[in-house]
């Protein structure tokens, strides 16, 4: 059975139809990549799945591990194990990274009926994960994303994912803005989390990322529809030919 | 560096323009200071019930209007002078003013040919086109503008009436509208600025003599700019005009107002009231270039410009945009405001105020958010030079029902020389947790870097300042209709003459 099952999913923003019937099945442990031209609706799909206000579902259904995802509020979805790495991470002045992570992790643990983590244990665990992502300790004490460079923000998103250990992670252009070394560090971070139960939906413009995070399936999203699906070779093909074929088709 | 470069390329062109314009205006600092020698009819000096009745009978008012004037007058008598303003307004001797002064004319002119040639000459000298084939002086290729010319207490001519009538648009003097469209006047007069609003509006309500009336019918986009040109000519005369503009559902109008007065040693009072009403989906753009005589270098003479301007955005999605360029008057005291009643209605206020020599100005706006998702935007640029003193005073108020209201305010002041003052007094009041208000203000002098940059490119100091000031005001000037933008830009140059060194 699929972990995430999207059927004929249609979404409007400001009364403008953006997603026009998306079908996508992501099984446990699978990595799917979505590529597509600017404005085709990739971020809209990720926001709608994450439950952002203003993204009005006008048709279709989404189930996550068998339950109706669309019934849940944004925070409930997250606690159920859905994670979105934002294309444009939000700055939170006055909230330190550590505080933020602690609140997020404890919210999830509480939901799972687990005890809150001991503060010391927590800090240790976070430091270790930050280190794996080449993030200096002082970044943990700073306010979330405030004054972070584009690449640092993306690394911070990856850190949050590593700490929260979601069942399903959607990465919206987590590779953009990363230098070559950082791209490798972030990909390693993702790959460390890969296992037979955890699934990923990777949105990207570059085949390069898919050299590191090798996908099981690749989809092309154009004008709010998935117009082609294939295996990892599709990404290579796109790199050569571009989207012209699909833009015309759509 | 790149932004400074862009500034200079863009600026060089307009520097040359400004310099040329300033040069073309000759040496006369206030070129509108002449007086027209014309036979006038005056009511006796001073104000009392009899004068109110006299004005009312001169205007052949209907009974209800006379009563309204008398009520206003009786309220006015008991009303104290306002005290909260920054400028120290000398005690005004209300009994030493003529409340009615009109060019003698046996019959009301039926066409321009019948208008006294002296009057036509006056407006020609002022650069105001009263002949329909002409356009505003000095602007080639500008679109046509319909003009209502108010000379002291009365409207002397309105152009393009026929063309406008074809669209169902009413554009005439208010005294005429009282007779031709009594239902509209009765319904809307005083509905935005009640006669008891403030001391000066109250006096205006009692003794107003003329002004313009505009009605744009449903769904009509007014095909040309409408304009009123106010001229104070006679000595010891107050001007109390009243303007009423009604934009019916889905209509649009752009309206311009200009004003000048002769150079005199004594102060003259101008206490106007302007009321705008925008119904559902209607838009009114109201622009003013105020160039009343400012007084001389020592502050002798000049107009007291105490004006009440207010717009009611009554309908949903309605919009009112005020733009003002204030360079004249000894004392200016006005706050063009918007009452945002209709859901999604929008109010805007764009202002450039320049005070030099001994001028004083206390000006700004009020944005009252009543409806849901109402938005307002305030951009104010103040320039103070010489021994002048200027205050921006603005109120943004969000009422409990105004969910989703937004305001943005930017107020910048520039000081030229160490003997002037510039003040910023915003009042920000919110009673709705979903409203978002943002106010920013800065005060500084002309940046030495900018000045040096211009000088090092060969500009003279005065030219450089005019250029930088024009750049400083650009955001506001851009909102003016083209016909006025040129005049306004020239005015900025002239108003600052002698402020350097």
């Amino acid at each position: 059975m699929s972990l995430l099952s999207i059927k004929n999913f249609a979404v409007e923003v400001d009364e403008k139809p953006i997603l026009k019937g998306i079908d996508l099945e992501i099984g446990p442990g699978e990595v799917h990549a979505i590529m597509g031209p600017n404005g085709s609706g990739k971020s809209t799909l990720s926001y709608a799945l994450a439950g952002r206000d203003g993204y009005e579902v006008t048709g279709g259904s989404v189930t996550f591990d068998g339950q109706d995802l669309l019934e849940l509020d944004a925070d409930e979805r997250a606690r159920e194990g859905l994670f979105l790495a934002f294309q444009y991470p939000v700055e939170l002045p006055g909230v330190t990274n550590t505080t933020f992570l602690k609140h997020a992790l404890n919210a999830k643990r509480k939901h799972q009926g687990l005890e809150e983590l001991d503060a010391l244990e927590f800090v240790k665990a976070v430091r270790k994960k930050a280190k794996e992502l080449n993030m200096p300790d002082d970044m943990l004490k700073r306010a979330v994303n405030v004054g972070f460079s584009g690449g640092e923000k993306k690394r911070n998103e990856t850190l949050q994912m590593a700490v929260l250990e979601p069942r399903m992670a959607i990465l919206d252009e987590t590779d953009s803005g990363l230098d070559i070394d950082a791209l490798k560090v972030v990909s390693d971070g993702v790959n460390r989390l890969r296992d037979e139960n955890r699934s990923f939906l990777v949105i990207t413009h570059y085949q390069r990322l898919l050299d590191y995070i090798v996908p099981d399936h690749v989809h092309v999203l154009s004008a709010g529809r998935i117009v082609k699906s294939g295996d990892k070779s599709l990404a290579l093909e796109l790199e050569k030919s571009g989207y012209a074929e699909f833009v015309d088709a759509a | 560096m790149s932004s400074a470069n862009a500034f200079v390329t863009d600026a060089k062109e307009s520097a040359r323009e400004t310099a040329e314009q300033v040069g073309a205006l000759g040496l006369d600092k206030y070129k509108y200071g002449f007086e027209t020698d014309i036979e006038m009819e005056f009511a006796p000096k001073g104000v009392n019930e009899d004068i109110v009745r006299l004005i009312s009978s001169k205007k052949e008012d209907p009974e209800w209007l006379l009563e309204w004037r008398l009520r206003a007058f009786s309220v006015w008598q008991d009303m104290p002078e306002p005290q909260w303003q920054k400028p120290h307004v000398p005690q005004i001797d209300y009994q030493d003013i003529y409340y009615y002064a009109a060019p003698k004319q046996t019959n009301k002119p039926q066409s321009l040919d019948e208008v006294d040639p002296k009057l036509l000459e006056t407006y020609e000298k002022l650069g105001i086109p009263l002949k329909e084939q002409e356009v505003l002086a000095g602007v080639q290729g500008a679109p046509k503008v319909a003009v209502d010319a108010v000379f002291d207490s009365v409207s002397v001519a309105t152009t393009y009436k026929k063309t406008l009538e074809a669209e169902g648009i009413v554009f005439c003097s208010i005294s005429e509208a009282v007779h031709t469209h009594p239902e509209l006047v009765k319904k809307y007069l005083g509905s935005v600025v009640p006669y008891s609003d403030n001391k000066h509006a109250c006096l205006n309500s009692a003794v107003f003599t003329d002004g313009s009336f505009v009605y744009i019918p449903k769904g009509v986009r007014c095909p040309m700019e409408l304009s009123t040109y106010f001229r104070i000519n006679a000595e010891n005369t107050g001007q109390f005009e009243r303007t009423l503009i009604i934009a019916d559902e889905g209509s649009y109008v752009s309206y311009l107002e200009g004003c000048t007065a002769p150079q005199r040693d004594e102060n003259q009072l101008h206490a106007a009231v302007v009321e705008l009403i925008a119904l559902d989906d209607a838009e009114i753009k109201y622009s003013t270039v105020q160039n009343w005589y400012p007084g001389d270098e020592d502050g002798k003479g000049g107009i007291y410009n105490f004006v009440t301007k207010r717009a009611a955005c009554r309908g949903k999605n309605s919009k009112v945009s005020w733009t003002q360029v204030e360079t004249g008057s000894a004392i200016t005291w006005k706050y063009p405001s918007c009452i945002l009643q209709g859901d999604n209605s929008v109010g805007e206020f764009y202002s450039v105020a320049i005070t030099n020599n001994r001028q004083e100005a206390d000006t700004g706006t009020k944005m009252i958010h009543l409806g849901k998702n109402t938005r307002s935007r305030i951009i104010s640029k103040g320039i103070s030079a010489g021994r002048a003193d200027q205050t921006y005073r603005g109120l943004v108020r969000v009422m409990p029902r105004a969910d989703g209201a937004r305001n943005f305010t930017q107020c910048d002041s520039l000081l030229i020389g160490g003997n002037c003052g510039a003040h910023t007094i915003p009042y920000i009041e919110s009673r709705n947790p979903t409203a978002q208000l943002e106010h920013e203000a800065t005060t500084s002098r002309i940046s030495e870097d900018q000045l040096f940059y211009c000088l090092s490119r060969g500009l003279g100091e005065e030219e450089a300042i005019a250029l930088i000031v024009n750049g400083f005001c650009k955001e506001v000037m851009q909102t003016l209709p083209m016909e006025f933008a040129v005049e306004a830009q020239k005015l900025i140059g002239i108003s600052l003459e002698g402020s350097v060194g």
Binding site: D75, E91 | G421, N432, Q436, E440
Partner: protein, 364 residues
């Protein structure tokens, strides 16, 4: 009762006066007409007690019980009680805590107007702590007036906490004069339930002076919190900074009237002013009047004021990480206020304030 209070009560300012436009004192008048304001008996002064969260900071402590000073051995040599007021010569380097405690119980209405003047020495550093707390719930009207003279290069750090009961009226005034190179760095945290108005005037009388006025407030229930400031630049090349933040819940009201006045000869002035408020309830209100009055041209002055709601993007970001909405709102609210605390240089005080803010935000 002091002459000052009598005069004040007989002619209470009304909202028609510009400076009192947003703060209504009718409730003070109502108490005067009812049981009436009295002075607390001197015997009360012996009831030395709880002086609030700042008590844990090690400092010389001078307690005012219902306005009456309690001079202890610890403080006797730095204080002289004179008929016209209390003169204080604080020890440089040693914090001095002025603790105003009100003990009035229901049915009592104590009014006081302690007058304090602090004399600093040139070039010395001082730390001043001020607190206003209540252990009773009766009516109190406290009108403290503190004046500080800072001679050349003196540095004064001042942290104040206002945490009165719902029946407390505090109308406090502080006047600071800074000579050449002197610094005043003040921060006020206001979390009381009654009516608090704090008028702070700082005059930069010498060149190169520096003044900072910071503040954070939490309005809850029907509290009324008013900050009225005036920073006067009378000398050239001085710098001032004002930074206030407030959160308003329930039916509370926040008022900020801040003014920067730059005199004609104060060239080279840098004056900045900022007020930010967050409205949390449909019955709360905030009124801000940040004012610049400037008579010198070589200045850099600016002010900003914002009033708003919690940022929706931030809220979504927190929720997308699994944090429930209420909790996310509370975090963002706290973060909003905490940012202003970073202006407090003394870490111990900052920690006390931080903890106190968290408690009071939790009490909403």
């Amino acid at each position: 009762m002091t002459k000052e209070i009598e005069n004040f009560l007989s002619d209470l300012p009304t909202r028609r006066e510009e400076g009192w436009k947003y703060t209504d004192l009718k409730a003070i008048g109502a108490v005067a007409e009812g049981a009436g304001w009295t002075s607390a008996p001197a015997a009360r002064a012996q009831r030395l007690s709880e002086t609030g969260p700042l008590a844990e900071i090690d400092a010389d402590t001078l307690v005012f019980v219902d306005g009456n000073p309690v001079v202890s051995d610890e403080t006797s040599d730095i204080i002289s009680v004179m008929p016209e007021g209390i003169e204080i010569a604080p020890r440089p380097g040693r914090p001095l805590h002025l603790a105003f405690v009100s003990t009035a119980i229901d049915g009592e209405a104590f009014a006081s107007s302690p007058k304090l003047s602090l004399a600093a020495k040139a070039g010395q550093h001082y730390a001043l702590i001020e607190s206003h707390t209540a252990i009773g719930t009766g009516n109190t009207l406290c009108m403290p007036r503190i004046s500080i003279e800072a001679p050349r290069d003196a540095v004064i750090k001042h942290a104040a906490l206002f945490d009165e009961s719902a029946a407390g009226f505090t109308l406090s005034r502080i006047d600071v004069t800074l000579d050449q190179g002197a610094e005043y760095d003040g921060f006020a945290l206001q979390t009381g339930l009654g009516l608090t108005r704090r008028e702070a005037t700082v005059t930069l009388a010498g060149e190169h002076g520096f003044a900072r006025l910071g503040g954070a407030y939490v309005g809850r229930d029907s509290s009324h919190i008013d900050n009225t400031t005036l920073v006067v630049h009378n000398a050239a090349n001085a710098r001032s900074l004002q930074d206030f933040r407030g959160v308003l819940d329930g039916e509370s009201r926040g008022v900020f009237q801040g003014k920067v006045l730059v005199a004609k000869d104060a060239q080279g002035t840098d004056g900045q002013q900022q007020h930010k408020a967050l409205l949390l309830s449909p019955k709360a209100e905030v009124d801000a009047k940040p004012e610049l009055e400037i008579y010198a041209d070589d200045v850099q002055c600016a002010h900003g004021a914002t009033v708003g709601a919690i940022d929706q993007n931030q809220l979504f970001y927190l929720r997308a990480r699994g944090i429930p909405e209420d909790h996310a709102r509370a975090m963002l609210t706290e973060a909003f206020l905490m940012q202003s605390l970073s202006g407090i240089s003394d870490m111990a005080i900052r920690d006390v304030f931080r903890a106190h803010l968290t408690t009071r935000l939790g009490d909403r």
